[in-house]
Subunit: 443 residues, 4 copies
């Protein structure tokens, strides 16, 4: 079913890294690169390496036979090596014996996985970075726009819509850097041969690895990592954390877009098959869906970590579809959030109107703080708490209730008629913090 | 990447239920069935229903446009209804207005999901049932074959290989019935209209639902369930539990197939790209991989349950790919385990040889029990514990150590030379319990 | 940290089943019951069984030594049996050898886990059942109260608040029955001895199991289930599904309680350390928190299923704290939801006011349906879509826009001035469906 | 139940960070530190700050009332502030109004959580670092000791036990550094007031934050992070990855300790209540159990990330018990693995004997590589494959089968009688790689 939903959940560029052709092409590239690296150290003729590279093209491969072969043998590399060997044997018979000469299937599969994850991950990082930029730019634009801060989904105190966006941009930027760093740490060659000793490479194993690393732009780790997959799990975790952060953007936008709130909505909403008036926050939903799904995929990568001895039984294959699925899922969510932030429609008047909806209750903390110096915190809290109840019961504005209170009125009258009930005067250090985010982000 | 691995991880029959064509076909069937049900109650002309049914064929649909439309609108039903309406409009203009007349997208998508899950689930149930049958048949064959029972991966006491298989068959049978029951409970129509009131169906909503249920062989629930997805989660959980049980089979076979144990192995093992001698337990690995992956997918279904109001924001879409992925994954594992049990190669001699490897230590509990009546449990345990240490230190058989012990020797001599160190005499009630499983299973 | 939060997240009655004293008492009860069952079949003197039962009291046990012993030996049963044996040895020396004579640690631990889960689970079922009852009673009370149905968090069409509650009650009732059934299926004795053959019980193993089952009110399965834990996972899954359903109640109430929506709120909300006006939906939060946490715990139980051979290495211990944690978590959420539904404050006027907020847009589907017979669906949808846009742009009520439309006006005038824009006339079959839920629930 | 199992699953030092007293003490420390920071900027009298600090002792707090208060109010900070205020009011009435003057509950709870996680996390890092050291020291000792490399649980080629340990040490070291870095990144103050604007702190909010950061040794982030929890999730993920790596150690040791393999075992194994000979790998089991449980807890932290607006409804509380549970679980596993590596008993003779068990099959890849230069890879693979089958069928050593083969014999005779079937000559670059790990680790 999934390709039907790629348009909804995916990012075309990310998806393209993982489709069947790209996957086979990457595997072939790695096989060819290993042959090239062996040629570099003299373990096979340069002509053979060239012949292998020339044959290593996805359009030479019978994908149906490949899938069937994977079923029989247990992985994709075995039947792919067989097919490639046949192609080489037809065209350059002398070179055939050098195809996949000393490496093991896992060397090919793991290194190819790294190459794909790096390529797709870079796209996700870039998307996330653009989304962060966009959020920070919006933060600047809306720095002085008050909005009800909501805790436990209750109006709490005023805040600045810009600050809200700055926090989002700050978090997205951090997530982008975290993912980028995790990918960089994971960008290492896997080359160990059957069980990691490099014995089949004679004395040249580490030289082959170094040459392979140069060819693919990957570092060479101290030891092969076939059975220690923490670097991949680290990438998965960074994706999962990003998914959750994207999901928060989706959830907040979904809440702001509620008919009863209506403070912001997507510029290109979805519709309904039944209801002509609907403007569904589709991109918010995509981001939330990814945030709901990613934790299970990350958990799978973690659960697969205790891989038996030199190659896990079932634990290794458990990664094969999971990691690409996770990259694609989060890539789609990053795409959705970037789009969402690009055409977000914001309604500052509605934000102001909603701030007025509570008849002043949202200023209760500020009023309390204003009374504390004169009457102490316990009395202030109690006085304001009772005033809030009167406001709730009668609908009278909290300001008016307080101005009718013999204790509070003389203490508040100047400020109450001025800035105490003015959201624009209640934004604290929002502006300074937005600037901090902007400057940190651009540092 | 995943279709390349379908041959390894999947079951072709199950996968066929969820491919794009089948998915679109099922959605169209449901749309047509709703039209038919509306015709049954007179809400649209029978001829219109027939025209819709005639047009509702997957080969009329432009899948690329469908995927793009899903991206824009947020679900597959909206663009599919549009395309179908166009097809009908060309062929039977009068009928076009009746396409998807009163239902909402979710009615179509949810009901189609149920139809697919029921179809694919039945295949998984049947596979699992056959695997259970196979295990129970093997249990009978190997009922008297001793094998080392292993706890914490240490040899513990002898057991019967048949009993081990009977427990597997018992659990697989239970899992099959659990899944079957969960599917039966979930096999209910979703029809509610926009928010569940059936208002758009006039007074006929429940009649339409009843007729739709008859057409599709689904029950009609008391109320629509668009925002209460516990029945689907229940199916998912039953699949997850089955995955874990299949994974146990895989793990046990993988352990038995270890080079150092070699008591059983797959009849059609996989090979290696590097090592010609390898006989990899590929099906065991497939089952284990599914058991590693399924928990995360089940967790996703559970995490998606708190769906907001009358249709979740993002939480509902989180299910769309997850449930099919789970059914397919577990279907593939059931296929692998059925195959594995069908051609399992068993080596009773090796089981016997392994029982002898511990120089009698595996009989330590039995020896203790034999001594208890005469010298009490504390002394018996201590005596045997020390004897075990001597066996470990010297390599002398536990029987010989005990027969050299002045306390133990006279108490044990008759049995020690007879059945006490005979695994075939140590199988307890294995036979009776195998019969219980067989008879319960066939009841 | 957790006991500090038991007052928030827990249910005292459920928690009491799993505290240290209760856990030790249950383990001792099982050890004593096994001795009693062995006495029943003549494998030990009745007096010894009585002596063991008399000694098997939690206040005889040194809990610190028990915890230390569990660390050294790997489970609680080993040091507990040692301590109990010492107690018996002091009081009835002859009986000491019969303590835990033939069973293995897992028999004790698993059977005790079942006894605890059954006891606590019954409390959770009862809570859930009461919550379902409460929801259904509220459904009846609010059957004719219109509320905006919301999909994707957007107002969609009117529905009945009673119907919303009926769906909740229906789902909670189903969850209660599912959990009850899973517990009933899991309520089976575990008795197998070291590796499941019952060999240490001589010929009497199945008789001992039967007697033990009678004593504890548990069924006797065909075979021991030490390494096949699907029944426990089934209970866990039923708890996880319940958690998700409770979480939906919490999420919906949290959304309804938003300051901007204010259609319902908790009768006993929480406060804030900073904001005197806050009325936080604490119980909704408790239910949501459980729904966020339960999936990971269920996933753990599933991940632990592939237990090696006759006793898992680490996989079995992975359950020990997880299942009690899950029962307690869901028990607390059920408690919170029952409380929440008991004192829920509902504001039908506000529901009505919110229905009016969209200037008639919420009736767009109904208007479309009213136009379809005359002008066909495509024209009707397009006409209404444009009218909705005009309403959005101008703020004029959709009814007025339509009555100014030359096509729509003559077709709608009668109904538009009557019931078409009347939420109370838009509830479809809500009443009939509420009655179905009520009658199904009481059947 | 859990404290009974702390001796098994926990680490006493880590657990001590999270017990009730330590938790309350940390919360009080943070409240006092905020008061101190406010005094630093002149927002309250220094004497008041001192009075608050003097009163902020856990032994002044009624824990039962605290738990009850948390249930009513929704978090621990509210009732704790109330109790602390009462204590201060009794002793220094003037200071009472300054208790928790401007901060919000979340400021206290989040900052305290960071303080606890940093303290406990440092212990886990240190344990892991010691375990890595130990593994690398063992790697050096066993650098030349051959062991069967096993892939898919099948003997594959020889490797060095030292290399296996070096890979473990390398991974553990990386996990320690990853966790340390994540903790360092998360070691930031949370101070924002009700919704993050710092408005209640007047103009001094950022100065208070800076002073608080200095007092607690925490950095000050650009913006408060109450609703963006990615840093905590990052710590959780690093713990989860460590758990999986520890679990791999446990799984490998468990497999090596199998009766049939017996190449290594724990120096202080557990016993059995039934079987006197048992030496259960308890620490391996503890590590595996943590690896099974951690993924679900990490998934919970990820699932909780999309927190609504300025404070999540239920999503935030979902973290409160989860993160401490995760730290403790992984801390216990790190403790177990450090102990396990400290007293690991290794049997090189058994490793050698097991290498001989396959009658030379484990050398099949090496033999193939030796034949390739002369007869090409396809012929070499086929020849060796057939020879392996003959060995399997007849039990004759692969060397003898090959020396009887007219093609292979002349090509192999020199090496076959020398190093080709000598595991000690088959370790490839193991030594060099062990040195790389050691030198990298100490860099």
């Amino acid at each position: 079913m999934s390709e039907l939903l790629d348009g909804l959940f995916g990012d075309p560029a990310v998806d393209a890294v993982f489709n069947s052709t790209a996957t086979v092409a990457t595997l072939l590239d790695v096989i060819a690169a290993i042959a090239g690296a062996e040629a570099d150290v003299g373990r096979l003729p340069e002509a053979a390496a060239q012949a292998i590279r020339a044959a290593a093209r996805a359009d030479r491969i019978d994908f149906g036979a490949l899938a069937a072969g994977a079923g029989a043998s247990g992985n994709l590399a075995i039947p792919l090596v067989e097919q490639l060997t046949s192609v080489v044997a037809r065209e350059h018979p002398d070179a055939a014996q050098y195809v996949h000469q000393s490496a093991t299937s896992q060397d090919v599969l793991d290194t190819a996985a790294i190459v794909q994850v790096r390529a797709a991950g870079a796209l996700v990082v870039a998307r996330t970075e653009r989304a962060a930029e966009r959020a920070i730019a919006l933060a600047d634009r809306y720095r002085a726009v008050p909005i009800a801060g909501r805790t436990w989904l209750q109006q709490a105190t005023p805040t600045s819509f810009g600050l809200k966006l700055a926090m989002t941009g700050d978090a997205l930027g951090r997530c982008a850097r975290r993912l980028e760093a995790a990918i960089a740490r994971a960008a290492v060659v896997q080359l160990g041969g059957a069980t990691g000793t490099l014995a089949a490479f004679g004395d040249h194993g580490l030289d082959v690895a170094a040459s392979l690393g140069r060819a693919l732009g990957l570092a060479v780790p101290s030891v092969p990592w076939h059975a220690h997959r923490d670097r991949l799990a680290d990438v998965g975790a960074a994706l999962g954390i990003l998914a959750g952060t994207l999901g928060k953007v989706g959830r907040d936008v979904g809440l702001l877009a509620q008919t009863e709130v209506a403070e912001a909505h997507e510029g290109s909403p979805g519709g309904s098959s039944a209801m002509p008036q609907k403007r569904n926050p589709v991109r918010a939903a995509v981001a939330i869906a990814a945030a709901v799904r990613a934790p299970g995929l990350v958990a799978t990568l973690l659960a697969a970590l205790p891989q038996e001895h030199e190659r896990g039984l079932g634990t290794w294959p458990a990664e094969w579809e999971t990691l690409p699925a996770l990259v694609r899922l989060v890539g789609g969510a990053a795409r959705a959030v970037e789009e969402l932030l690009t055409d977000l429609v914001v309604d500052p008047e509605r934000m102001a109107a909603n701030l007025d909806r509570s008849a002043g209750l949202i200023y209760a903390e500020a009023v309390t703080m204003a009374l504390v110096p004169a009457i102490g915190k316990p009395r202030a809290r109690e006085l304001v708490r009772r005033a809030c109840e009167e406001t709730r019961a009668t609908g009278r504005h909290l300001r008016d209730v307080l101005l009718a209170d013999p204790v509070a009125a003389p203490l508040l009258i100047d400020r109450a008629l001025g800035d105490l009930f003015d959201a624009r005067q209640s934004l604290g250090l929002a502006g300074a913090m937005i600037d901090r985010v902007r400057s940190d982000h651009h540092a």
